[in-house]
Point group: C3
Chain length 204, copies 3
């Protein structure tokens, strides 16, 4: 397995986890099988589609490489059948979601930098790659996006995107940049979950 | 009338019907005349705008050819004036909507294939062309998208998009491909309406 | 200060005002600091991002020039701290919002014309530049977009976009075109506020 293969496998695991989160939201809203697959697709690939549109990479990877859409739909269909057993998997799902957050942010930020987007914009695009799918999932299911309301989630992604941009500026090798930044994001997210950290809310 | 003219007329009929569905949703929410015209525009042209962004055809047809926007707005304004009589038109509207579903899916899939999008992506783009406007209409009016909840609608579109892609792969002439695929979609949609078919919902 | 500098300063004032409107909506929904900054960013820059995607200007200005994102986030954070005092500022905020509406419409229409979009499409893109951020703000906070429901707001923008397109067609100098059109939009908006004009609603 080359390192490109390794990245693809990691990417597809992130796609599957995010698709499962979308599918679970669709099950909770009593969507039909199509609706569940669709919300799974959007939750997994919506952030990447937005990233590719913004950096001018058309057609977006979600449409250019069939493995992304097929992975998302298979994961969503699996949730359709298995969802009564999902409650038991809460911990591994949160762990994989934190890993997906790290991975999507890092690849999103690097793709934006490679496309010539300046530093601040690339960090924003990296974060949007990771949170865009969840935002779209919540809007499609009639919920106010949870990422805007509480928890350290997007802020962990933004911190990692900034680290990617700094390391790239210091000419650190890409695999090291990706590994350190993804670990930072996933680690901060998991510690925030464990310690119940959250961002401040405005005084009433 | 050449065949390009025929296609344009068919396309504009689809635009008018989808705009009317958007306008009716706006009337139901007590939007003002601008809001009704806007939801009509988005319901009719939102799917095509998304398609054109994703395949890199900018500016999207909805902005490049004034006949699309003007048709959508005129249809929406007609609904604003005539809506008390619309209940009587339920059956022809459902028929035209099924025809629009078929037409938008087929042209969307072909445009994606012509832009070099691989098969799986082109089918998804074709389906999104047809359902994207209705999704946006429901989100703008504060509803959970009906296409995700019940009915055979998007699945009929997806089946037709797959048929388009297969026939294109077999080098069937475009007019025949378009006719057969649009008929399949419209037929499946109408039979599903008549027989009250719907997709499965997850076990509670 | 050159006229380009002047335009940039005016643009950033519009960004700050629209970001403040997004941030205030986030505060009202009890979003956390990240959510407030994010809704501020989207309210200020969502319309311009849509404009740039539609005319093929990638990456959009909101990602290409860091001053836009930083201005939006600073304005949103200021609202986070200062919001209890904002009620007192209602009149200047409505005035600046009307100025932002005029400015964003005019620059959006001109950019679309410069990108080769025909007249009708350019007017629609100009209007979408000005109202797109507010639409996204309302959807992110779970509200039906206020611009669709009442008030003369988008219609003022559309009128100004049409004036821009006519003056451009008559070869009027850009600064004069921009000044007259922005004044028209801002003036109509303020008179509509003062006189409580609103667009018609469909008969029940």
């Amino acid at each position: 397995m080359t390192s490109a293969d390794g990245l693809l496998v990691a990417d597809l695991i992130g796609v599957a986890v995010f698709a499962a989160s979308g599918a679970a939201a669709g099950v909770a809203k009593r969507f039909d099988l199509f609706g569940i697959a669709f919300v799974g697709f959007v939750a997994a690939l919506g952030g990447g589609i937005l990233r590719d549109l913004v950096i001018g990479a058309v057609p977006p990877l979600a449409f250019a490489d069939w493995r992304y859409a097929v992975t998302a739909v298979l994961a969503a269909v699996a949730v359709f059948w298995l969802h009564p057993r999902l409650a038991r998997w809460r911990r591994p799902v949160l762990l994989l979601d934190a890993a997906g957050l790290g991975l999507f942010t890092v690849t999103g930020t690097l793709k934006a930098l490679d496309a010539g987007v300046p530093a601040v914009g690339a960090c924003l695009i990296g974060m949007l790659t990771a949170i865009g799918g969840g935002l779209a999932r919540d809007i499609l299911t009639g919920e106010i996006p949870v990422v805007l309301q509480r928890d350290i989630y997007a802020v962990a992604a933004l911190g990692g995107a900034i680290l990617v941009t700094i390391l790239r500026g210091l000419d650190v090798a890409d695999p090291l940049t990706m590994g350190m930044s993804a670990l930072l994001i996933t680690g901060v997210r998991l510690v925030a979950l464990y310690r119940r950290w959250s961002a401040p809310v405005a005084a009433p």
